[in-house]
Amino acid sequence: MLSALLIMASIAVALGAVLGYAAIRFKVEGDPLVEKIDAILPQTQCGQCGYPGCKPYAQAIANGEADINQCPPGGEEGIRKLADLLGREFKPLSEEHGVEKPKSVAFIDEQRCIGCTLCIQACPVDAIVGAAKQMHTVVAPLCTGCELCIAPCPVDCITMEALPETVETWKWKYPVVDIRRAA
């Protein structure tokens, strides 16, 4: 009886020591979950989720404060990936946070721009160039399509333009399998 207790106790101590050593030796830096969630988010930085950027939203998801269906630019696919990563059930995009739209970029009507710099300050990725009282323009390849520049513009000269499909961005379609056709 005593020897059994001793054996169990010493095994427990030994395993505990191993675990403790492993925890120190293989310590994971930072919070990998937040990084993993952030990697799935589209980095639009639009704030539609209710958080000031993708990283804070990722942090909120990781802390269990936010749900996974609050990111309209990520769309259904993004939610699926998050559900996969977190082992949760898929749920449709929450309507209060917006709807999924085709990717588009901001365009400044240069005739109407008055050079107020408000959109430059609003842009989360510094994709708008210009100076006070000078005409502004959007660097299209850098624009994430977050639409944050539209509201501040006092003359409503910013519009969202859908990106046209080009030979480079064209994709081969999923081969349609219609087995029933053959019946």
Binding site: I179, R180, A182, A183
Partner: protein, 334 residues
């Protein structure tokens, strides 16, 4: 076809399956000649049940019935089931076996191309577990006339031990377990013929001829038959050389039971077998060794079916670990 290639070789699944059926004919002919024409009744029963089951399940799954029935895969499964079951098994056992193969093993896993287990072998295993007595009565050559066979198949009296003896494999196993005798005495009995069960060596030869035809037509590759027979014969030879009184000869192992059917028609099933060249060798050799082990040390006299199912389980791992080197990547670490 909307995109290239716009050319297609005139081949089809139906053709592949038809070639397999043709390749089975020499074996069937030898069976009829040596053992009995009752096998034709079994084949007919199996075919009808298989087609009906396939059509029914496809209906349930809302798949095109005509196209899938036309691919003849169900007929191949049915024939293999009928050929690996004993000749005089009652018709409903054959039917149940075919139903197991088509409904449970094939369609429950997603239909053609998706089943992880060989349907015929799974059916054999299910039936031998469920009806061990019925599944172990093999008549040998010339023992029963056609009307007796027919009566037995269609549900006549089943005073079986009086009609048939045990198979050579069965006799060997029980005889050696009992002790006090050796292989030569056991197999010296007149009922067992020169190699395996009397008459069955001719059937095995028929399968071999059909198998060579499949090889010639490119339906199967050499890997599986060679690895299977070499492994089975190799391990048998090893033990036979040391203890000839305890272990049967490699030739006996090759010619008896379902070894030849398995070598060319069962392990070569592309759906449930390994697919890479190295994987095929491992898969078939594993099946051969397991078959010998089960024959000698297992609870059932014939081990091929269980061996194949066990190797089916290993296929995903085998395939993953034996991926061939890709063009330009021969130097890469695997």
């Amino acid at each position: 076809m909307i995109h290239s290639p716009y050319l297609r070789k005139p081949v089809s699944v139906r053709q592949v399956m038809f070639t397999v059926l043709v390749a089975l004919l020499p074996g069937i002919a030898a069976y009829v000649w040596q053992i009995g024409a009752g096998i034709l009744v079994n084949l007919a029963i199996a075919t009808v049940v298989a087609l009906a089951a396939e059509a029914f399940v496809l209906r349930l799954r809302r798949r095109p019935v005509g196209l899938a029935l036309g691919d003849l895969s169900a007929v191949v499964t049915a024939w293999l089931v009928a050929l690996c079951f004993p000749l005089i098994v009652p018709w409903w056992v054959t039917a149940l076996g075919v139903l197991t193969a088509i409904v449970a093993v094939k369609h429950l896993y997603g239909g053609l191309g998706q089943n992880p287990f060989n349907p015929a072998m799974a059916a054999y295993c299910a039936m031998i577990v469920a009806y061990p007595a019925l599944m172990s009565q093999w008549p040998s050559a010339g023992q029963l006339d056609f009307s007796t066979q027919l009566a037995l198949i269609l549900g006549g009296s089943r005073d079986v031990d009086a009609i048939t003896g045990a198979t050579a494999l069965d006799a060997l196993r029980t005889g050696l377990r009992g002790g006090g005798t050796d292989v030569a005495t056991l197999l010296g009995q007149e009922a067992f013929g020169a190699l395996g069960g009397r008459g069955f060596e001719w059937v095995a030869l028929g399968y071999l001829i059909g198998g060579l035809y499949l090889l010639a037509r490119g339906v199967i590759t050499w890997h599986m038959p060679v690895a299977f027979t070499a492994a089975l014969a190799g391990i048998a030879a090893l033990f036979w050389a040391v203890h000839p009184e305890q272990f049967a000869s490699p030739l006996f192992h090759l010619a008896s039971g379902g070894a030849m059917l398995a070598a060319f028609f069962i392990v070569t099933d592309p759906v449930s077998g390994a697919t890479t060249p190295r994987g095929k060798l491992i898969f078939a050799a594993g099946a051969g060794i397991l078959a010998w082990l089960i024959r000698n040390f297992g609870a059932y006299p014939e081990g091929v079916a269980f061996a194949v199912l066990l190797m089916n389980l290993c296929v995903p791992l085998i395939d993953m670990k034996t991926q061939p080197k890709v063009f330009g990547h021969r130097g890469d670490r695997s």
